[in-house]
C-alpha cells in the first residue's frame, strides 16, 4: 500500500502519464472529429503507423523536426482523404473501408521503410524533440517535471484539445459539423455541403491521428519499429465512446489511460516476483473494454454515425 502511495506521489509517475497520454490525445481528437461528422474512421491504426513512419523518415532525410510533423500530417490527411472518398460520396461500408485503410497505410509504411533501409540491424536514430527547458517554470517543484519538462508536442496536443473544444462549441463550423453527424438533411436544407463538411472533417481528423503516430517516433522514441503502434489507434476508438464525443472528456480519458499505463509499468517492477508481468501489460486493454462497457449504454451517439448520405435521396 505504501508503495502505491509512493508511486502516486512521485513526479515521474505523473510526467509519464502525460507522456503516454499524448499520442492518445491526438488520436482521440482525430477520431472524435470524424465521428462527430458521422463517419467512423477505423483507418486510425494504420494512420498512426503512417504518421510515425513518414514523420521519422522526413526528419531522417533532413527535413527538420517541424518539417517531419508537417509531412506526417499531410500523409495522414492523404489516407484520410482516401477513406473520405470511399465512405462519403461513395457511401461504402465505413467498417470495411477503415480496416482497408489500416491495412493499406500499414503496408505502404512498412514497404517504404524496408525499401529505403533494406538491411539494417539496428534502426537508425534521429534527434527527437527535447524536453522543454523554460526559465523558472521548468524548475518548479513537482509541476516543473510533470508539465514543463514535456516536449513541445505534448503542449501541441493540449492546445488542440482547447482548439477542438472551441471550434465544436463556439463556432458556426462546429455547429455545422455536429449537425452533419446528427441530421445531414437539415444541413443540406440550409444549403451547406454535407459532402464537403464530412470530407473536411475526416481529412482534418486523420491529420491529427498521424500526429499521434509522429509523437511515437519523434518524441517518445527516436526510431521507427515494426509493430510500434501496437493497438493505440483501437484504444482511441474505445476512448471516443468513453468520452461521449466530447473533447474535454476525451482529454480526461486519455490521461486516465496514460496514468493507468504508467502505473502498470511501475507495479510490474514492484510486484514482478508475485505476478507475471503480462498481467499488467494486459490491464490497459482490459481497462479500455471495461470503459467501453460502462459508457456504451449511456453514450450519446452522433445519430447519423455509420449512415451514408446521398444528395437528392431522402
Amino acid at each position: 500500500m505504501m508503495d502505491l502511495l509512493n508511486i502516486l506521489l512521485s513526479e515521474s509517475f505523473w510526467a509519464a502519464s502525460l507522456r503516454i497520454a499524448t499520442p492518445l490525445i491526438f488520436g482521440v481528437l482525430g477520431a472524435l472529429i470524424c465521428e462527430r461528422a458521422g463517419v467512423l474512421n477505423l483507418g486510425i491504426e494504420g494512420i498512426f503507423v503512417v504518421g510515425a513512419m513518414c514523420g521519422w523518415m522526413a526528419v531522417w532525410l533532413g527535413a527538420g523536426l517541424w518539417g517531419g510533423i508537417l509531412v506526417a500530417a499531410c500523409a495522414g490527411a492523404f489516407f484520410g482523404l482516401l477513406h473520405a472518398i470511399l465512405t462519403v460520396p461513395l457511401g461504402l461500408s465505413q467498417h470495411v473501408s477503415g480496416l482497408g485503410i489500416t491495412l493499406f497505410a500499414t503496408s505502404v509504411s512498412y514497404f517504404t521503410y524496408r525499401t529505403a533501409l533494406p538491411s539494417v540491424s539496428s534502426p537508425p536514430r534521429i534527434e527527437p524533440f527535447q524536453p522543454l527547458d523554460l526559465p523558472i517554470l521548468s524548475d518548479l517543484p513537482f509541476l516543473g517535471p510533470v508539465l514543463f519538462q514535456q516536449t513541445t508536442l505534448t503542449w501541441l496536443a493540449l492546445a488542440f484539445v482547447a482548439l477542438v473544444w472551441y471550434v465544436m462549441n463556439r463556432t458556426a463550423l462546429g455547429v455545422a459539423l455536429q449537425a452533419v453527424g446528427d441530421n445531414p438533411n437539415s444541413v443540406d436544407a440550409q444549403g451547406l455541403s454535407v459532402y464537403g463538411l464530412r470530407i473536411g472533417a475526416i481529412v482534418a481528423g486523420s491529420a491529427l491521428m498521424a500526429l499521434g503516430g509522429a509523437f511515437l517516433t519523434m518524441s517518445a522514441f527516436d526510431a521507427f519499429f515494426f509493430g510500434m503502434v501496437n493497438g493505440r489507434g483501437w484504444v482511441c476508438i474505445a476512448l471516443v465512446i468513453f468520452a461521449s464525443w466530447r473533447p474535454g472528456k476525451a482529454l480526461f480519458g486519455a490521461l486516465l489511460f496514460g496514468a493507468f499505463d504508467a502505473l502498470q509499468v511501475r507495479l510490474q517492477t514492484e510486484m514482478g516476483a508475485l505476478v507475471p508481468g503480462q498481467v499488467f501489460l494486459m490491464a490497459p486493454y482490459i481497462l479500455s473494454i471495461i470503459a467501453l462497457v460502462i459508457a456504451a449504454r449511456s453514450a450519446d451517439y452522433p445519430r447519423a454515425l455509420l449512415t451514408p448520405w446521398f444528395k437528392g435521396q431522402r
Binding site: 461513395l90 525499401t115 503480462q278 467501453l292
Partner: protein, 357 residues
C-alpha cells in the same frame, strides 16, 4: 452533371467479375511500388508466378498457406453476413492453438482416434468462447464488437506470451517461449509425401461446403441473412435476433479457432507467439473478396495465398521487400470495395435537360 442512381438489379456477372477484376487491378497497381523499389515489374510478376506454379512443392506451399486463410475467411464471411463485425479472428486463432497444445502435447496420452477429434473440438470451442464473450458484451451492454474484438486480439496475444513462459512452456525448450510438441497421434496427417500440405485443407474445404449449404438452404442460414439485412424486420418477423447473433458468433469464433488448430496440429507441431502472420486480419480481406460467400472464400484464399507465397519467392530472388504482398492484399480489399459500389449503383452522366447519355 454526374448522377448516382441505385441499380434495380445487380447483373449476375458482377458477383464474379468484380472480385476477379479487383485482384487484377491490385496486382497491376503493385507495379508502382515495384518500380519504386527498382525492380522490373514484368520480371517480378514472372518470379511470383514461378514461386506458386513453378513446381509441385511451390504449389503445395501455396495450398498450405491458403488453409488457415480459408478458416479465418469463413469466420469473417459468416459473421459479416449477420453484420456481426468479428475483427478478432487473430485472437480466436491463438485461443484455438493454445487449446490444441494444452490438450495435445502429452497431458492426455490417448490414441489418435480420440485425441485428434478432441483437439479439433476443444480448439473450436476455445475460439467460440473468444467470440461469444464480445457478443455478450454487445447484446447485454451495447459495447461495439469492432472495438472489443480488436482489443481482445492484443489481450489474447499477451495472454499467449504469459502461457508460453508459464504453464504451456516446453520444459525442454531451454527457456525459449515455445510449447511442447503435439503428440504424433494428435497431428493432422499430411496429404502428400515430403510436402507440408496437410489434411487441415480437407477440413477447411468440407466446412466451406457445409457453410455454403447451410447459408443458402437451411432455416438457420435464412435467419442469419435476415438479421444481417435488416435487424428490425427480422425481429418483427419473430426471429430471435440475440440467439441468431450468438449462433453465428460461436460458429465464426470456432472457425477462427480451427485456423489455430490447423496451423499447430497440421503444420508447425508446436506453438510459438509468431504462429500467425496476421491470418485473422487477412481473413477479412479473403471474406470481402469472396463477396461473403463460403465457396468464394476458398477461391479468394487460394488467390491471397498465391500472392503471399509468390511475393516471398520473388522477394528472395529479387531483393524486393515481401511487404509487397501485404500491399497487394490491402489494395485488392479497397478495389473490391469500390467494385461493390459499381455493382450497386449506376453512374449516369446527364446534361441539364436531364436526358441521359
Amino acid at each position: 452533371m454526374i448522377r448516382i442512381e441505385p441499380r434495380a438489379q445487380t447483373p449476375r456477372a458482377f458477383a464474379v467479375g468484380i472480385p476477379v477484376l479487383s485482384a487484377i487491378v491490385a496486382l497491376a497497381l503493385a507495379a508502382i511500388p515495384l518500380i519504386f523499389a527498382g525492380a522490373n515489374p514484368i520480371v517480378a510478376y514472372g518470379e511470383m508466378f514461378k514461386g506458386v506454379f513453378g513446381s509441385l512443392f511451390a504449389f503445395s506451399e501455396m495450398l498450405t498457406r491458403a488453409t488457415p486463410l480459408m478458416f479465418t475467411g469463413l469466420a469473417a464471411a459468416l459473421a459479416f453476413r449477420a453484420k456481426l463485425w468479428n475483427i478478432g479472428a487473430e485472437g480466436q486463432l491463438y485461443l484455438g492453438a493454445m487449446a490444441a497444445v494444452a490438450i495435445g502435447s502429452g497431458v492426455l496420452d490417448i490414441s489418435g482416434v480420440v485425441l485428434l477429434p478432441l483437439i479439433i473440438v476443444c480448439g473450436a470451442a476455445a475460439g467460440a468462447v473468444g467470440m461469444a464473450a464480445p457478443t455478450y458484451l454487445k447484446v447485454r451492454f451495447g459495447a461495439d464488437e469492432v472495438v472489443t474484438t480488436l482489443l481482445l486480439n492484443f489481450i489474447i496475444l499477451i495472454f499467449l506470451q504469459m502461457m508460453l513462459e508459464g504453464p504451456l512452456q516446453d520444459p525442454m525448450s531451454l527457456g525459449w517461449p515455445q510449447s511442447a510438441p503435439v503428440l504424433d497421434q494428435g497431428m493432422l496427417p499430411p496429404l502428400m509425401e515430403r510436402m507440408r500440405v496437410h489434411s487441415g485443407l480437407i477440413l477447411a474445404l468440407v466446412l466451406a461446403g457445409v457453410a455454403q449449404f447451410m447459408l443458402a438452404r437451411s432455416v438457420w442460414g435464412f435467419k442469419l441473412r435476415a438479421v444481417g439485412e435488416n435487424v428490425a424486420a427480422a425481429r418483427h418477423a419473430g426471429i430471435n435476433v440475440k440467439r441468431s447473433l450468438f449462433g453465428v458468433a460461436v460458429i465464426s469464433g470456432g472457425l477462427a479457432g480451427l485456423a489455430g488448430v490447423s496451423e499447430v496440429a497440421g503444420l508447425k507441431g508446436y506453438l510459438t507467439a509468431d504462429l500467425s502472420p496476421g491470418f485473422g486480419y487477412t481473413g477479412i480481406v479473403v471474406a470481402m473478396l469472396a463477396g461473403l460467400s463460403p465457396v468464394g472464400v476458398v477461391v479468394a484464399a487460394l488467390f491471397i495465398a498465391s500472392v503471399f507465397v509468390g511475393a516471398d519467392s520473388m522477394s528472395r530472388a529479387m531483393g524486393v521487400s515481401s511487404f509487397l504482398a501485404d500491399l497487394v492484399v490491402s489494395m485488392s480489399l479497397l478495389c473490391v470495395l469500390i467494385g461493390g459500389f459499381l455493382a450497386k449503383y449506376r453512374i449516369i452522366r446527364s446534361n441539364k435537360a436531364g436526358a441521359t447519355s
